[in-house]
Amino acid sequence: MTTNNKSKFAMYWAAACGGCEIATLNIHEKILDFDANFEPVFWPVAMDGKVKDVEALPDQSILLTLFNGGIRNDENEEIAHLLRHKSQILVAFGSCACQGGIPGLANLSSLKSIFEVAYHTVSTDNPQGIHPGSSFNVPEGELHLPTLYPVLKTLDQVVPVDYYMPGCPPESEQIAAVIDLVIGVLQGKAQLPAKGATIGAGASTLCDECPRKRDVKKIEKFVRIQDLKTIDPELCLLEQGIPCNGPATRNGCGAVCPKANAQCIGCYGPAEGVADFGTRLMSALASVVESKDPKEISRILDGIPDPAGQFYRFNLAGSLLRASKSAWKNE
C-alpha cells in the first residue's frame, strides 16, 4: 500500500504501560519531520494496522521497528518474531523491552502465587476459587486467552535485537535525536552505530550528568526519603543517605529525578560496560559507606530495606539472575 518513497516504520507494545507511546507522541513538532520521512505501517496506539497486514509484507521491508514492553505471553513472542522477520532495524525500546522493566519484578514470584493473590484479594468475591485460564468452555463455545509465561523475558531473549534504547520512558528529546539520526542515515549524512549498541542515551553514569555537588563524603547510615526533615537541593542524594541508583545507571535522561529532589531509580538500566546492574550498584553503595569493618559495612547496607527491589528494580529480567527459583519452578 506504499504510494511514496517513505521508509516503513512500526511501533509495538507487548507487556508495557503505554508510557513509551506517550513519550514518542510528546516529540511535538518533530512529528512533522518524522511524517515527511516515514510511513507507519503498524502502530496500534496511533493508527490502523493489523498483524495480518504485517504478515503480508515482504521480509525486511520495515526499515525501523521500535518494540516496547517485555515478553509476558505467547502472543507477545509471536509478534516479536514476526516484526524481527519484517524489520531491517529492530530496536528494544524502553526499559521493559531492554531489561524487563517494572513488570519484570513479577519474576520474583511464581505465576501460581500471582493468580493466588490477584483472584483472592480482600475485595474479591470468589468462593469457588476460580482462576482464569488460557481456554474455557462457555455454554456457547470455547474462549481463549493468551498463555502467560512463568517468567517475563526481555526482547533479546526471544529474538536478535539491533539496538537498545533505554528509559522508562525514554526521554522525548532522546527519541527526537534518534529519529534525526535515522533520517540522517536515510539521507546519507550519518552512519548507524555498530549493531548491539545502546542509542538515545549516554555512555557513562547518571552521576556524570547530575548537577548535584559531591563532597565525596562517606555516610554512616542509609535513610528513607520520607524520614529526612529537609532534602538538600544541591548536595548528592547518596551523600544525604538516600539510596540513589545513579552510580550504576546509564546517563541520558538529564538527571530529571535528582533535579526534582528524588533519587534515581535506575530506569535507564546498567551504565556502559556494566554486565549486572545490581552487582555494580552494590559495590558503588558499599564504597560510600564510612567504614572498613566488614561487619559495620554490612550493618549499614542492612539499612537498604529491599535489596532485591533496590538492585534489580528495572532490570531483573535482563540481569544475570533473571528470575527467582520459585518463578522458574512456578511454585
Binding site: G18, G19, A118, V122, A262, P305
Partner: protein, 488 residues
C-alpha cells in the same frame, strides 16, 4: 446455522482486548463476551517493596494516566504512616492532577470522541477522524489541542519532576515545592486552559446540540443502561478528583452512601469469571446478578457521567453553570443515556481548568512547607482518587518497617468492565438480527460503545487518528470463515 463472530483485536487495544459474539440457530445474538487477556501481577510483585516506592512502581500500570496511580499511591502511603501532608503539598498534588485532567480529557474529546459528534456518526468513515474534525472546525483548533496537551505536561513536569511517570510524591507530602516564577507560569497556562475548555464546550453545543439528529441519537435508547453510579465528592457533595468521599447513587438517583476510602470493602466487591483476566466490580450490598442493569443488579458505572450523577454539582462557578445546563437540557437525573458521557467529560474539563487556576493563585501554593516527616508506625492505608476513567483505589498493608505485605488495587477502567460489556452486547443485538449483520453499523456502534467509557484495558488506548479500525470475522459452526468485514 450456528455462527460465531470474533472481533479480534480491537486495535489500539491490540493484544489487550477481544470480543466474541455467538449467534443462535435463528441468527440472533445468543451471547457476547469481552475478553481481557492481560495480567501483570502488580498486586503480587509489589509485596516486599518499601511503601514509598509504590507511587513510582504503580505509575507503570499505565503510562497514559500514571498521575492517577501516583496520587492514589501517595495518598495510600500517607494513610499507611497516619501522616497528614501540609496543605501546600495537598494543593500542589491537586494542581498537578487538575492539569493532568485537562490534558487527558482534551485528548479524548478531540482524538477519540470528537469525530463521532463533530463529523456525525453517519459521516463517511474517511471523514470520521481527527483530520476530518480539523477540516471541519479549522486548522487553528489543532494548534490549540496541541497547546493544551503541552501546557498540561509542562505543569505536570514542574510539580512532578517528569512529563511521564512523576516522581515527587512521598509519604507526608512532596520532595519539592514550586517557586513564585513557576507559579506564575502555571497560572498563565491555567487561564489559557479555561478559555480553551469554554471554546470546546461551545464547539460541542454548536455542533451537537444544534442538530436534532445528533440530539436524538444522544437521548435515544441505544446505550441506555439503568445502573448505579459512583464518584468522589467534597464536603459539599461537589465533584472532586483528588479527595473526598465516594458517593454512590442508585438508578433512581437516591444516594445509597458516601463511603470513606477506608470503608470501600463494605461497598465494592469484585466478581471473577474464568474466561477473562479482568474482574467485574459491583456494589456489594446489592450483589452480583450477572450482566444485567436495574436496581437489583449491583453493576455500576464510574465515568465523567457517573461523577456528575453521583454529585450535587461542581465546585467552580463556570462548571456549575454547565452542570445545570446539562441536567436541564436532558430533563432528568441521573442521566442514563451513556452517549452524554462525552458532554459530561467537557464539563469536567472546564472544572479542571478552573480548579487549576484556583490552586495556582492560592497564597499557600509556593509555601516551603511541603512535607511532614511521618512519625507513627506504618500499618495499613487506603488511597482513592478519581482517575479520568473511574474511581481508583489503592490499598496497602505494611510491616513495621513500611515494607509492603499485601496490596489490593481496583483501577479506573475495571469499574466499567460490566457496563462496557453490556453496551457492546446491546450494540451487537441491535445490529445482528436473523443472521443479518449490518456491516458498517456493527463496526461503528461497537466502536462507539467503547469510546463512551474511554477504556484503558491494556492501560493505554488513546489513539491519534480518532477511529477504531476493526475487523470482524464470521465463522460457521465448523470454524470456517464465511465472511470478513473490515473497516480501516
Amino acid at each position: 446455522m450456528k455462527q460465531r463472530i470474533s472481533i479480534d483485536p480491537i486495535t489500539r487495544l491490540e493484544g489487550h482486548g477481544k470480543i466474541e459474539i455467538f449467534l443462535d440457530e435463528a441468527g440472533d445474538v445468543e451471547n457476547c463476551y469481552l475478553l481481557i487477556p492481560e495480567l501483570r501481577g502488580f498486586e503480587r510483585f509489589c509485596v516486599g517493596r518499601p511503601v514509598e516506592e509504590m507511587a513510582l512502581l504503580t505509575n507503570r500500570i499505565c503510562g497514559v494516566c500514571p498521575e492517577a496511580h501516583h496520587m492514589a499511591a501517595a495518598k495510600a502511603a500517607d494513610a499507611v504512616y497516619h501522616v497528614d501532608p501540609p496543605p501546600a503539598a495537598k494543593k500542589l498534588r491537586e494542581l498537578l492532577y487538575s492539569a493532568f485532567y485537562v490534558t487527558d480529557h482534551t485528548t479524548h474529546f478531540y482524538a477519540l470522541a470528537g469525530p463521532d459528534f463533530v463529523m456525525g456518526p453517519d459521516a463517511p468513515v474517511a471523514e470520521r477522524n481527527i483530520l476530518g474534525v480539523i477540516r471541519k472546525v479549522g486548522l487553528e483548533v489543532a494548534g490549540k489541542v496541541l497547546q493544551a496537551r503541552k501546557h498540561g505536561h509542562q505543569t505536570i513536569e514542574i510539580i512532578g519532576g517528569r512529563k511521564v511517570h512523576p516522581c515527587t510524591s512521598i509519604p507526608g507530602g512532596l520532595t519539592k515545592g514550586i517557586t513564585e516564577e513557576q507559579r506564575q507560569e502555571i497560572e498563565k497556562m491555567g487561564r489559557w486552559a479555561i478559555e480553551f475548555a469554554q471554546f470546546t464546550l461551545k464547539l460541542f453545543k454548536d455542533i451537537v446540540l444544534g442538530n436534532k439528529a445528533y440530539l436524538d441519537l444522544i437521548l435515544g435508547d441505544i446505550y441506555t443502561h439503568r445502573t448505579y453510579y459512583i464518584g468522589t465528592v467534597d464536603q459539599n457533595n461537589k465533584v472532586n478528583f483528588y479527595d473526598g468521599k465516594v458517593s454512590v447513587v442508585d438508578p433512581e438517583g437516591n444516594r445509597l452512601c458516601r463511603y470513606e476510602p477506608s470503608e470501600y470493602t463494605q461497598w465494592i466487591a469484585e466478581h471473577v469469571e474464568p474466561w477473562t483476566y479482568l474482574k467485574f466490580p459491583y456494589i456489594k450490598p446489592v450483589g452480583w446478578k450477572g450482566l444485567v442493569d436495574g436496581k437489583d443488579s449491583g453493576i455500576y458505572c464510574a465515568t465523567p457521567l457517573s461523577r456528575l450523577n453521583a454529585a450535587d454539582g461542581m465546585a467552580t462557578p463556570r462548571a456549575q453553570e454547565e452542570y445545570d445546563a446539562f441536567f436541564g437540557t436532558i430533563g432528568s437525573k441521573p442521566v442514563h443515556q451513556r452517549l452524554t458521557t462525552h458532554w459530561a467529560r467537557l464539563i469536567e474539563l472546564l472544572y479542571a481548568a478552573e480548579r487549576w487556576v484556583e490552586l495556582a493563585t492560592d497564597p499557600e501554593i509556593t509555601s516551603d512547607q511541603f512535607h511532614t516527616v511521618p512519625t507513627e508506625k506504618p500499618t495499613e492505608g487506603i488511597g482513592i482518587v478519581e482517575a479520568p476513567r473511574g474511581t481508583l483505589t489503592h490499598h496497602y498493608w505494611t510491616d513495621e518497617r513500611g515494607l509492603v505485605t499485601k496490596v489490593n488495587l481496583i483501577v479506573g477502567t475495571t469499574n466499567n468492565y460490566a457496563p462496557i460489556s453490556m453496551s457492546v452486547k446491546k450494540a451487537a443485538q441491535s445490529l445482528i438480527k436473523k443472521g443479518t449483520v449490518v456491516t458498517e453499523g456493527l463496526l461503528n456502534r461497537v466502536e462507539m460503545a467503547f469510546r463512551i467509557y474511554d477504556p484503558c484495558f491494556g492501560c493505554a488506548t488513546h489513539s491519534l487518528p480518532g477511529q477504531m479500525p476493526l475487523e470482524v470475522r464470521i465463522y460457521d459452526v465448523s470454524g470456517k470463515i464465511v465472511e470478513v468485514l473490515r473497516r480501516d
